[in-house]
Symmetry: C2
Subunit: 200 residues, 2 copies
């Protein structure tokens, strides 16, 4: 009873390296980085440990690659918004708010994978730490840029506030059920409304 309808029947699967990254991503996010062994990642990727180690020299390297991919896709969200609404900072901000809303209402939310990695990887010399730091800094700077571009006054301060509210929402959704996280989008909207540049 092999279905030949609706799909090309013999889709060539993505190469092992990509399958491994996909599997690592799901498992790391769901169960935590330290809780997942390399073998289970290889299994989930329909390959084996040797192939995994040929592509990634160690588990730490795999973790770094995992975080690099998360960062790349996170940046891509902003880039896409900039492409969709070129020069329109307000529209980009509105798009970001809708993105935040979608992320936080998707059930099974386990917070920000990057922040969670920062909690799990405490060694100060871990290759992941730089990636994490850069990513979060970039994200905050994006907010500053958009607020400035949109004409908000004190864009730095506003960006800090928005950044921390969002980070707080994503961590607290893992701590308290029915917590304030579900209300953060409303809070963000009213915060922006309060600080909106006067149209004059």
């Amino acid at each position: 009873m092999v279905s030949t309808i609706n799909q090309p029947a013999e889709v060539t699967p993505p190469p092992p390296r990509q399958r491994i990254l996909i599997a690592a991503r799901q498992l790391f996010y769901r169960h935590g980085i330290r809780a997942v062994g390399v073998e289970s990642i290889a299994d989930a990727a329909a390959t084996n440990k040797m192939t995994l180690y040929r592509h990634f020299g160690s588990k730490d390297e795999l973790i770094a690659a995992y975080l690099n991919e998360l960062a790349k896709e996170g940046d891509e969200v902003w880039d896409a918004l900039a492409r969709e609404h070129p020069g329109d900072a307000n529209a980009q901000l509105e798009g970001w708010l809708r993105y935040v809303e979608k992320i936080l209402t998707d059930c099974g939310e386990r917070g920000c994978a990057v922040a969670n990695a920062a909690v799990e990887l405490r060694e100060i010399d871990h290759p992941a730490r730089q990636i994490i730091d850069d990513y979060k800094t970039r994200k905050r700077d994006r907010l500053v840029g958009l607020f400035r571009q949109a004409g908000y006054e004190e864009p730095d301060q506003l960006a800090d506030e928005v950044f921390l509210l969002f980070e707080g929402a994503r961590i607290s959704i893992q701590c308290c059920s029915n917590g304030p996280a579900v209300r953060v989008v409303r809070m963000l909207r009213s915060l922006l409304a309060e600080h909106a540049p006067k149209p004059r």
Copy 2:
């Protein structure tokens, strides 16, 4: 060269159970729960694994006890403030702000141990999860109560905002160096000033 000055020379050490909790607390906080083995905790407590297992049936039970103690001490902060300034919600809020300031400027900050535990312990049936959830919910409710008592309008909304900002600061201090976390106290103060009840 044994110092006999300045201390009673033969201070009876606290009982093993207490020493274990102290050691677990330091190690769990510094290195993460999953990164610390029970044996190293026993060593740090100047005792051994057997004694540890006589007091705590499993590592998970020890984790639960660890979190219970964190929660107890966290609550104690609020209770102490209520005792110092009975009936004066504004003074209690000011005291809490100073406490927040102290926590965030203490070097070597690794964020909120309770929130970090929530990130590390993803199993939904882990005994720690209920403790975490209750603690964070209690904390948010305390804020609501103080804001209401102090006469702020919309105390729920304000408490949500303050709560998320603080949680965001404590997680982001682990993610980005020189991030917005260091400025959160100023943000909180101006937020309270904005929403302060009109003195009329």
